[in-house]
């Protein structure tokens, strides 16, 4: 899904029927012709931003655009009510909805906060009988919601649930059994309850239209024999990502039935039983060799590195490799990565160490996206990866566009080097795990490094900072980060000036998430000119007070200003001068009606 921030524009009121009649009476056919022509042309317009622009031209263009929009993207499910959305856009076939703010992933949002799919499901059930695709991210989805989807949309083809929760295998069973035209069932990093329902067996008999079946996040056993039969009768299947309950022997059986796969998640990548010496094991390498179209490999959830050589046959064609659950060392990685010349996307654990990253840098000259995750999330003096590996990547992978890097130590020099070498950087997310950590060598703040990134990487739209940062870093960001749309700040900055620099300078800012930084009301109020252009602002454990938040709410009626903490309820709101634990505010055409007790809407 693209992350184009353009969304629904402020809605115009539709002219009442009487007006319309009068206009038509004056020149009935011209108006109609215009709209018909326009509609026929607009049907081809797919870019969200363009559509938004079109809808702002005039009322009839707005209407025409609304009638021809078939893909609806709502970046914040609370920005508009389901009724309003379905009223404006009548002929939608595909809906994408995003719910909770991203910091919910890190347990910073209390449970039951919201983002319920249910009201959307029921609104769409009535409005969009031809609905085919639903994409949900960070939404709360129940089994009943899935049943509504399955029952209400006879043409339903694609369901993707990313970082969602609230449903279980019984919901999946309903979707599998009722959606006869299902092509895509993608469950990605979602929490799925084990209702002990054999959902795999619920797919209808006979040939299926399945093209993508992703369930690597489902933490419960599945009926393997049913899965094997399902794969055997799904000749269009291209993407299959298994969960960790599928053993390597079972993987083999599936692979030989589906050599047409392009994307494979390998499951556990280890045997389920003790392998005795002299046991006959399948020829795993030949199974991989038979998958000539394989370009994306992931899984390896309980890898036994001895089996790694099985994937050698596909390495030369791989464009995407996800080892981020595989605890392997540099040597084990080297044997694989040295064959992956075409690799563009690489996710890995820091167990590979700086040496492993050097191996990546030596071979993967086409690398676009790198993510290095920590095995040990504790704050330490040393870690397996550092500025050394980072520098190697900077020097070897010049085409890098996106990086997410966790480490214990970093230097400004390494970051500056990347800013000079990797001019295509669009996403730069560096997480120095120990809070307030300075440059490893110079012991200075990391201001210059991040400053160089915003200054030199002219395409940068997403930035996450860390380490010891003064307000100077933020002045750089405000001065040079003119294209930055998403900014994440944590344990950084000295004073309100830091946030002011950002709010006054970053003219493209859409999403700003801040935690544990010393920014208060004065800074908050300096962004009034910009908040309607943003999707949201999140500030937790900062210095904004209830008074400051209320001021914003009063001055900007188009914003919903939510204030909450983990232990509050309606009776225990606190004084006006108290700092609030969490401020979450967003532009919206609707008021929330489903807020839990601990959320106060100012």
């Amino acid at each position: 899904m693209s992350h184009d921030p353009a969304e629904m524009s402020e809605d115009d009121e539709r002219p009442p029927p009487a007006d319309r009649g009068r206009v038509e009476y004056a020149s009935p056919h011209a108006d109609q012709v215009l709209e018909n022509v326009l509609e026929n042309v607009l049907v081809f317009l797919t870019c969200r931003r363009d559509r938004s622009s079109v809808s702002l031209v005039c009322k009839s263009w707005c209407r025409a655009e609304a009638l021809t929009r078939s893909e609806l993207f709502i970046g914040n499910c609370y920005a508009v009510s389901p009724a309003r959305a379905t009223e404006r856009f009548e002929r939608v076939r595909s809906v994408a909805l995003k719910g909770k703010p991203r910091f919910a992933d890190f347990s910073l949002l209390p449970p039951d906060w919201g983002a319920h799919f249910a009201p959307w499901a029921s609104a769409m059930a009535g409005a969009y009988p031809g609905l085919e695709k639903v994409y949900l991210k960070r939404m709360s989805v129940t089994d009943e919601d899935l049943a509504v989807l399955a029952r209400s949309f006879p043409q339903f083809k694609e369901l993707a649930l990313v970082c969602c929760e609230g449903f279980g295998t019984s919901g999946l069973a309903v979707v599998a059994s009722h959606c006869r035209q299902l092509r895509v069932l993608d469950l990605i990093e979602s929490e799925v309850t084990d209702d002990e329902v054999d959902w795999i067996s619920c797919f209808p008999d006979g040939e299926t239209s399945l093209e993508s079946l992703i369930f690597d996040c489902v933490e419960c056993t599945i009926n393997f024999n049913a899965l094997e039969r399902l794969v055997a009768r799904s000749s269009s299947l291209k993407k299959l990502r298994l969960n960790r309950y599928v053993s390597i022997v079972q993987l083999y059986r599936l692979m030989i039935r589906a050599p047409q796969l392009t994307h494979l998640g390998t499951g556990s990548f280890s045997p389920s039983e003790i392998v005795q010496q002299g046991d006959q094991e399948p020829d795993y390498a030949s199974a991989f060799a038979a998958c000539r179209s394989l370009v994306c490999l992931s899984g390896f959830r309980e890898i036994i590195p001895d089996y790694l050589p099985a994937i050698y046959p596909v390495c030369a064609n791989l464009t995407s490799l996800n080892f981020s659950y595989a605890n392997i060392n540099a040597e084990q990685l080297r044997s694989v990565i040295s064959r992956c010349h075409k690799l563009q996307i690489f996710w890995v654990l820091d167990s590979i160490c700086d040496e492993g990253l050097q191996a990546v840098a030596a071979t993967c000259k086409d690398l676009r996206e790198l993510r290095v995750f920590p095995i040990d999330a504790a704050e330490n003096n040393e870690g397996p990866v550092s500025d050394v590996g980072f520098l190697a990547i900077a020097e070897g992978c010049r085409k890098l566009q996106s990086i997410l890097y966790f480490c214990q130590q970093m230097t400004n020099a390494a970051v500056i080097a990347m800013s000079n070498n990797c001019q295509d950087l669009v996403v730069f997310r560096l997480c120095i795990i120990p809070r307030y950590r300075a440059d490893r060598i110079t012991e200075e703040p990391m201001d210059e490094g991040f400053g160089a990134i915003v200054k030199n990487c002219k395409k940068l739209t997403r930035l996450a900072v860390s380490g010891l940062l003064t307000d100077r870093a933020f002045s750089y960001i405000g001065q040079y980060g003119k294209l930055v749309q998403t900014l994440s700040v944590a344990f950084n900055g000295d004073s309100d000036m830091g946030l002011k620099y950002v709010l006054e300078g970053c003219s493209s800012l859409q999403k700003l998430e801040i935690r544990d930084s010393p920014f208060g009301d004065s800074a908050l109020l300096s962004g009034l000119h910009h908040y309607y252009n943003m999707r949201f602002l999140w500030m937790s454990s900062c210095r904004v007070t209830r008074r400051g938040c209320r001021e914003i709410a009063q001055q900007m009626p188009g914003l919903v200003v939510e204030v909450f903490s983990w232990n509050n309820d309606a009776q225990d709101r606190g004084e006006e001068n108290d700092t609030v634990e969490t401020l979450y505010m967003y532009r919206s055409l609707a008021r929330r009606v489903d807020a839990p007790k601990y959320v106060e809407i100012l």
Binding site: D105, S107, S270, N327, A330, E331, A377, E382
Partner: protein
Amino acid sequence: MLGGSSLNLKETELCLGLPGGGVGEGETLKVTGKRGFSETVDLKLNLQSDEAAMDLKDKMKSSSKDNCIKDAVKPPAKAQVVGWPPVRSFRKNIMAQKNNQAEETTEKAGGGSAAFVKVSMDGAPYLRKVDLKMYKSYQELSDALAKMFSSFTMGNYGTQGMIDFMNESKLMDLLNSSEYVPSYEDKDGDWMLVGDVPWE
């Protein structure tokens, strides 16, 4: 080459010695998954994975050079900060699960390591080593031990003083007779009769 020279000892599936199966580049790509754990423990049937890990740790500290995952010098314990570092709960849970699984007994399926124990027989000139995971019951173990020690058996059998060790059936009778009883030394250092504790 020290493969897998990791001090993350909770992950006992990592090889210490040469990678099991000895799969190299030119060889057939068929892998056996067999692990050649060179580390052994004394015959203690009640295997504690922690103890095994502790033995391993001492050995590795002396033998490993540049470690991939350096022994982290932890600063004084800082307060646990919620949601920091920003690793998704999903991923954190998975990693925690992996650590837990590795901490379970080394006999866990897929955990990988063989369970070699030393076996000695009274009067035998040298000891043998046997992989407990190869056997599913005491009887199997007993038969295997008998075969292993068949070459050593001397003694009380017959007046000739010398046993015909090619005569297997007689051997088996001898070994299975009351002359020799399989026993083991448990973790407390006591000699125990084999068969009391269930095999698992």
